[in-house]
Assembly symmetry: C2
Homo-oligomer: 210 residues x 2
């Protein structure tokens, strides 16, 4: 994670066909997303695995690291770059022990205490939010920009702001001086994900500039 990766796409299949879903991810990669997290909560393990293989074919083509939400086994099965763990997923410490030092482990944290625990257990980066209300996550508890700022100041690893962020409102997180921004809808819900990604990435670079 030494390379700066400011724009982080978290997927949502919405009601897209499989082909349309994959096409949006490809367009986002072409448009410049720096990280992709495949996030599935309802698929069977077999379907999650097969979808992850398809997505990884795309992300590999663009040399974009692929992270798998929640499931270490799926991440291992497709040789993903890493996993992203929420508070209801396996503990970061357990994941680190199973995956070793070289696999990326990200953690969703909503409070300073959660952030500090994730760092002490070996997380490589944090996702902090939801900054704004979001329709794509089951978990919609909000985190203030003040908390985001406090977390960013307290931890030595990259911090991504997440939750309802888009090109119009992303300026809101500028005071926190985060390392990047993670989005779902701003890319997945547009009919032109390529242009949306290009525009959003420029805004995110402005916002994260130190």
């Amino acid at each position: 994670m030494a390379i700066k990766r400011p724009l982080y796409l978290v997927t949502d299949r919405l009601d897209l066909t499989n082909d349309a879903f994959l096409a949006r991810i490809k367009a986002a990669c072409q448009g410049g997303v720096d990280l992709v997290q495949l996030r599935e909560k309802t698929l069977s393990s077999r379907d999650y695995y097969e979808l992850a293989q398809q997505v990884k074919t795309i992300t590999d083509q663009f040399k974009v690291p692929l992270l798998i939400d929640d499931r270490l086994d799926i991440a291992l099965a497709v040789q993903a770059a890493g996993v992203h763990l929420g508070q209801k997923d396996l503990p970061v410490a357990v994941a680190r022990q199973l995956l070793g030092p070289d696999v990326i482990i990200g953690a969703t944290t909503k409070t300073l205490a959660q952030a500090q625990t994730a760092v002490s257990e070996g997380a490589d980066y944090l996702g902090v939010g939801a900054i704004f209300p979001t329709t794509t996550h089951v978990e919609t508890v909000q985190t203030s920009v003040e908390t985001l700022t406090a977390i960013k100041q307290a931890v030595p690893i990259p911090v991504y702001a997440i939750g309802g962020l888009n090109a119009t409102n992303v300026d809101a997180v500028k005071p926190a001086a985060v390392d990047g921004v993670a989005v779902v809808s701003a890319i997945m819900k547009t009919d032109d994900p390529f242009s949306a990604t290009q525009q959003l990435r420029q805004r995110v670079i402005d916002v994260t500039k130190k």
Copy 2:
């Protein structure tokens, strides 16, 4: 799996409290179950992991191997003896590659073709069913005793009959000469799982005697 392990308990929390659920598993271990599979389809990863830790404390006490349904990551996290994979879970071949040769991998197969695939991919045993209708599995497609027999005759690994089997009807699988019987309700749904297990194990030994 060289040691004969004829009675295989697959768990179901039903509407039990956590304590009552664990108490039934403990009573089943005391009564003589030879294998336990923790099977959860709705818990978060964190809850599945924590429950698996609790169950493993019990099964370890009785030296009963614990298998985890579906989730390789949970199995790895609690150092379970192995995993059990259905047709909607990760392929056996992928699991074998990730887990190595020493971890037990079981597979649910409903047809001879599925059974032969599972064997060729490295399964250690097969669960075949449902022999009788069952209320505890989402999957209720039935498999005949004829298919069970054909599978048993075709594969070189232990075969367990599963699906609605209990002390009263388990004789039905005797013609198949299976290696063991797996049950859910016959143990989990009784108020005296210790006695139920003792009685059932004797019946299963009779039925599986060569």
